[in-house]
Symmetry: C2
């Protein structure tokens, strides 16, 4: 997979994707229409409960209302028809250089085309550009999330902790981390 | 230490403390004056950085602005002169029965009198009354927090995970949990 080029005009790398190669375009600003686009996408994955979907939309709202001060940054992958995928991340308050990847989701129509990996790599580049040294991802220990966990592991994330029954009985919270300055 | 009595008039136990035994009185509602009372108390402990103190006050603000919907619940211990100690906790979104203890702090003048333990036990009773099954506490792995960690361990909390360098290089995040329905 080709890595998107970056510009020197900003402290945040901007993806410049060849339109002939991918059917999506990366975007970093947040528009009011992203509320419904995110709700639709997250719902279409079939992975999330209603209250989880509400929280995904709340993060968009927080960014629209409070801007950068919200602590939420976004990477959107727009296709001509709809939102193909997105990621939401941010610096963890009261830490020197730790970031959280809050959400990453790809529309079923665009899965298995490398978009998840591309969103994740884009987040990693931006975190590094902001001085971040490690990225945490929380996910579920349930079987349904096996492919998700394998994806994080293939992408260089290490399982650092497992909190038993955190989400519900039999549903552990698994905490992954990727150290951007040294291998973990 | 005597356990505070409870009333049957509410789903949340109300502490009724004999004024002759303790120099503080438990309170569960939040007043605008708690913004500065919490800032003063947290600052007086000498334990927290400026950005951590700001966050302690933001949780009070969130509760004052959004009420129960903020997700933040408080236990205050008022002395006649000032706030002697307080705890802030809440249900963790998207979990079935997990709660977080966000803050617990005791003014230096009131330390070593059992108030920390009393606040923690009060939180445990209220979490149980709300259907919570486990309480998580995050703290630092630094030497400065050794007494804090020993306090949680004496109170029945178990160290479930340690995230290396989470807060800063050499400053790990230690995650404690207490299972309210079975021992961990």
């Amino acid at each position: 997979m080709a890595r998107p080029a970056t510009t020197s005009e900003s402290d945040v790398p901007i993806a410049v994707l060849p339109a002939t190669q991918y059917s999506w375009q990366m975007r970093y600003d947040v528009a009011p229409s992203d509320r419904e686009a995110v709700r639709t996408l997250v719902d279409r994955t079939g992975f999330f409960h209603g209250d989880e979907i509400d929280i995904a939309v709340e993060l968009v709202d927080a960014r629209l209302t409070n801007g950068v001060a919200s602590g939420y940054e976004f990477v959107f992958a727009d296709s001509p028809e709809a939102l193909a995928g997105y990621a939401c991340y941010g610096a963890i308050p009261c830490t020197a250089a730790s970031f959280d990847l809050y959400w990453i989701a790809v529309d079923p129509h665009f899965q298995r085309q490398g978009l998840g990996r591309m969103l994740l790599e884009d987040v990693e580049r931006q975190v590094a550009a902001k001085g971040g040294e490690r990225i945490y991802i929380d996910t579920s220990g349930r079987d349904q999330y096996r492919r998700t966990r394998a994806f994080y592991e293939r992408s260089g994330f290490c399982c650092e902790a497992r909190l038993k029954d955190f989400y519900a009985p039999g549903d552990d919270r698994v905490i992954y981390v990727k150290n951007l300055v040294k291998t973990c």
